[in-house]
């Protein structure tokens, strides 16, 4: 495996990780109004590929955010307790949107690196052509 194909490999792992992150973020956003929903957080970790000697990124175990659930006052709600409150989700849309934007930027950075490795390898081969 050449250095260029290793670079392509690592960039692809970054793309996959960011795509997985975006998926969990959209789960959080679409469940923002689900009662009792806890937002998911996506940890990244390094996966060392000893065969090729490259450090890829991979998504670890998804964990749930254990912050307090939002207490919503609505006595007419079927899940309301004696005080008229029920548990909403602990999703903060502002945080999710900022996180999604960060995932997008990171994805773009990985795409650029992919493109860069491709251009460099074809530039090298261009040298042999006349």
């Amino acid at each position: 495996m050449t250095e260029f194909s290793k670079a392509l490999d690592v960039s692809t792992s970054g793309l996959q990780a960011q795509a997985a992150r975006l998926r969990h973020l959209s789960e959080n956003i679409s469940n923002a109004d689900t009662p009792g929903y806890r937002r998911k957080t996506v940890p990244f970790r390094t996966e060392f590929d000893a065969g090729n000697g490259v450090a890829k990124v991979e998504v670890g175990r998804v964990s749930l955010d254990d912050r307090e659930l939002e207490r919503i006052f609505d006595p007419s709600h079927p899940m309301a307790d004696t005080t008229g409150h029920f548990d909403g989700s602990n999703v903060n849309l502002l945080i999710e949107l900022a996180d999604a934007r960060e995932a997008q930027r990171s994805y773009e950075a990985n795409l650029k690196m992919f493109e860069q490795a491709r251009q460099m390898s074809s530039g090298l081969m261009q040298l042999l052509r006349r």
């Binding site: 392509l8 692809t12 992919f114 491709r118 390898s121 081969m125 042999l128």
Partner: protein, 94 residues
């Protein structure tokens, strides 16, 4: 058959061994590179087929195709160089 023709035939059959193919088992360096190339191509095709049936990740498809592109480009460039060198030898005045 006169002796000149006979000796020409003898020297031809003596030097004919040089035209036999050498090590063809694929253990040579060039054989290994060719096997590697074929493997990259086969992997690209397999992932392309999987993505048609919806089994493969689009990232894996793009990566495999870029990898294949890189391999084909390298192989074509090397082949062009080899053919060029061969033609250079053919043009040599004997």
């Amino acid at each position: 058959m006169d002796s000149a023709a006979l000796s020409a035939v003898q020297s031809y059959s003596a030097s004919r061994a040089a035209t036999q193919p050498g090590n063809t088992s694929g253990d040579s360096m060039f054989g290994r590179i060719a096997m590697d190339f074929a493997q990259t191509l086969a992997q690209g095709e397999q992932i392309a087929q999987q993505s048609m049936t919806g089994d493969a990740d689009p990232h894996a498809l793009v990566q495999a195709l870029a990898q294949t592109e890189l391999a084909v480009e390298t192989a074509v460039t090397v082949r062009n160089k080899v053919v060029e060198a061969y033609q250079e030898i053919l043009r040599m005045p004997v």
